[in-house]
Structures are given as C-alpha cells and as structure tokens.
Subunit: 289 residues, 2 copies
C-alpha cells in the first residue's frame, strides 16, 4: 500500500472511531472539514518514509504516528486561522473552520484534534507498548512548551522575539516530530533523526518565503504576499529569490547528509532531495530541475 | 506525603520542566496563572484516593495521572471562559486568562496544557510502561469525541441537545477519568471504577446547581445565579433545593456502593461520603451534617 493511502486510511479510521452517534455532530464535521480533503500531507509522508527506512517492523505504529502528526498540524491551522491570530477566511481554497462552523466549534475542533492525535499514537502502538512513551513525549515536545508549535505561535505575543526559536518552533518542530516519531515507531534511536526533520523544516520555511514573494504568480489557496506588507522576516526578501533557492538546496543537501545509517538510507536520501524540489512553486522547480 | 502536597509538587515539577529559558515567557506565565493558586483540586484528589485504594504500587504513575487531570481541567476552564463561549471576566476570584493575557495566549495556554497533560502521564508512568496505553486512551476518552469535555462543550453548538450526554460529557467525563486513571495507574482493571467517578460527577453537578440557585448567599469567585436567567437546566430549580440535596445524597450513596473490592475500600467509602458533603455550600453542609 502506498504512503498516501496508508495515511488517508489511518486518518479516516481514527475519526470514524470517535465520530459515533453518541457525540455532537457539528464538532465531528468541523474536525473532518479541517482534515479532508487532503493537503500535501508532507509531514506524515516524511514520518512513514523514515519509519520504512528504519526497517518498518510495526506498520501500525508508524501509521498512527504519521496520522497523529497530521491531526496536530490540522489542529494548529484551525487555531492559527482564528480571528485573534491570522483572522484567515480561507484555508486550502475553502472557508477556514471558524468561517464555516463559527469560533466556538473552531476552538473545540482544534482541542479535540490535539486529543485525537495522542489517542491515535496510543492506538497505533498497541503491539509495541515499549515504544509508546517515547512517541508521546516526542509529540508533546513538538507541540507544547518550550519549543513546540504552540510555543512558536506564542512568540508572536512577546515584546522581544527570538527569531531562531520562533521559526524552529513554529515550522521546524512538526517536521522534527515527523522524523523522530517515524524512527521511534520502528524502534530506532529517535534523536539521531532530529536533524533530518529540522533541516527539511527550514527548507519548507524558505520555500514558503519564496512562494510569498512570488505570490502574484502562484495559486496556493491562501492569502500570500503578506510578509513584505506586514514586515515579517522572509528569506527570499533578505537573500533575493535566487539566493533563497540556493539556500534551500543547501538545506536539502544537509538534510540528506544527516540521514543515519539504516536499511533504507539510499532511497530516503533520493526521496529527501526530490521532496525538497517539490516544495518550490512549479515554475521554479523546473528552473531547479 | 498528603495528597494535596503530592498534587501541587507534581503540577509544579511538570510546569518547571517545560518552562525553560528557551521558551516564550508569557505563554508559560499564562499557563501558571490558570493552574495556580490552587482551586479545590477535587478531581486529582479523587484520582490519588482511588490509586491508593487499589494498592498504590506506583505513586509516580498516580501523581502523573492526577496532575494530568488537573492540567486538562484548567485547560478546559481557559477555553470555556473565552469571549466566544462564556465570556467570563473572572475565575476563582481573579481575572480569567484571556482578561489577564489576551485571547491569543489564552487559546495557546489551553492548547499547551492539553499537551502537557498527556506529557505528564507519560513522564509519570515511566516505571510502568505497560500501563501507559490505557492511561493515554482513558484521558483521550474523557476529553475528545464522542463523550469527553470538548464534546460536552460542543453540545451547546447543536440545534438539538441531548441533555444527558451533555452533562455526562461536560461535567462527568473528567470525574470518570479521575477514578479510571487512578485505578489504571495502580494496575487495577480501570473500567470497573468508572461508575464511582460518574456518580460523583453527577453529585458535583447537582451541588453546582444548588450553589447557583443560592448564589445570593454564596461567594464562589465566579458569576452565579445565571441558570434561571439563561434558561439552563438546573436540578435545584426543577426539584427545589431540598429535593436536590436529597438527590445529591442518593448519588453519593450510589457512588460509595459502586466501589469495587480493593485493599482500601472502607477508607475510600468514608472519603466519598465526606467529599460529597463538602461539595455543598457551607451553610447547607451544616444542615446536612
């Protein structure tokens, strides 16, 4: 079964398991609205790729970890879109959750997806209980204080911002979780996989910066071109688009180099470089190909 | 060490562990504002009492479970107080989190406390990895879809409300989690402890209803007397205060009767009846004594 099929089936199965006749229907609908139809699923695909490269001896644990990362990502998008943060009307070309269901259900859908994320890890790892603690703790590190995605978003509320911590937490943490949880799900030593996720997270941020600057040419299904308008840091503004593309290629190379010795190292290295190229807007990826 | 000391130390230790110099200070401060100074800590005390009654062979696992339940309770209070829900300016006699820190940090503090709850369970159970999955899944059941506290709050967004499901989920679920997780932390069969938590949760709801009706005489540190004004269901309005008190006593007796055979059954039974009496406002508990 290919990675995307495994991810979509696990996401659906987890949601089906909690969306029963006993529960409130609108909350379940709001959660599904945030999770489907699918986006790029870049983080769960990375998680499964690492789990496979490490031997993939417990596919259910890997599926659970990958789905959990996507649930957490969707939860963070719901809350980031709220009026008190980005006040975004659209997401992936459709109404944001609070526009479609109202703010109360948007807050609760985010909460319930955070919960479902941890629940999905526990369900997936039922055959590997010894791996569960490291999976839960790694997910918590990627999402809470001091360096998870909630902490990353909270830097925007500080009067003085640590830009490195901000980007590592807000964007990098879930990419690092993807590689760390993928390794942990297959019983590998998780921390030696962190660098791969961190470098890919940085590459993703640079690709996002390039897309923002080129927003007149791109159709990303969300408001773009805002970094300049809002005075936000942007690698393509500070380095120029070509400089940012070279930086992205260096990050992808560093990511590929960081892959620890494992059964599937060569395949994963090729995949890493290919995925980094896919991050770029289509016209630029042809220039880089 | 007494139960309250164990709870306060575990809450502090967990917060200290994530509140490092690397993280954003205001988010950590908002989380601490929600957790300290302490409220009644009724749910974590119940959790520890059940863990002790079941033999208490892993105090660290029990402490982690108890603190996790309190973190989750505090998270739900932060989000329930938000302007899009109860729009409460005060909580426990102090400004609510969004009044003290603003809505963005209130949303994120709730999120980060949900995460810290699961993390604290995993830390606590490090010596009992075989118990971890049931602890994580029971906490998720108490908080997400279809019957956890987020689902309970979401019933308020439905056009047609299932009143029984609403109250079981919104108030009962975390009480049930307290007894179920307390048993699981000590290696006992968790589900046979669910009835005790559910009956105590109902008793708590009835006590809250009585307090609401008597709000002119009570000082609870939060707005009261609102059920009549807002047309909300209230046992003391439908049964009268004396009828509601008799109902509460029946619920406490049913809770005490439900306690499964265990080393500490007699002590726990006495504690259960005493705690139910403590739920009442002071003048009423003297009438009932």
């Amino acid at each position: 079964m290919d990675a995307v099929t495994r991810i979509e089936r696990t996401l659906s199965a987890s949601l089906d398991r909690v969306d029963t006749t006993a529960g409130p229907k609108l909350l379940a609908a709001a959660m599904r609205h945030a999770v489907f139809p699918r986006g790029a699923r870049i983080r769960p695909r990375l998680c499964l790729a690492v789990a496979e490269a490490c031997g993939g001896d417990d596919p259910a644990a890997a599926n659970g970890a990958a789905a959990a990362i996507e649930f957490m990502h969707c939860a963070s998008l719901i809350h980031d879109d709220l009026p008190c943060f980005d006040n975004a009307d659209t997401r992936r070309g459709r109404p944001s959750v609070h526009r479609a269901f109202g703010q109360p259900l948007a807050v609760l859908a985010g909460d319930a997806l955070i919960v479902l994320s941890f629940q999905t890890i526990a369900w997936g790892a039922s055959a590997s209980p010894a791996r569960l603690a490291s999976l839960i703790v790694a997910m918590a590190q990627a999402t809470g204080l001091p360096s998870g995605i909630a902490a990353g978003q909270a830097w925007e509320c500080e009067s003085s911002i640590d830009l490195g911590e901000y980007q590592r937490a807000k964007t990098g943490a879930l990419f690092a979780a993807a590689t760390v949880l993928g390794a942990a799900a297959s019983g590998a030593e998780p921390e030696q996989w962190r660098t791969l996720g961190e470098r890919l997270g940085e590459a993703y941020q640079v690709a996002d910066d390039i897309a923002d600057v080129l927003s007149g040419q791109a159709d990303l299904g969300k408001p773009t071109g805002q970094d300049l308008a809002l005075g936000r840091p942007n690698a393509a503004l500070s380095m120029g688009v070509d400089g940012a593309m070279r930086h992205l290629e260096r990050l992808a190379a560093a990511a590929a180099e960081s892959i620890p010795p494992c059964p599937g190292a060569a395949d994963l290295k090729a995949l890493t470089l290919g995925e980094a190229r896919r991050l770029l807007p289509k016209d630029l990826s042809q220039r880089a190909a």
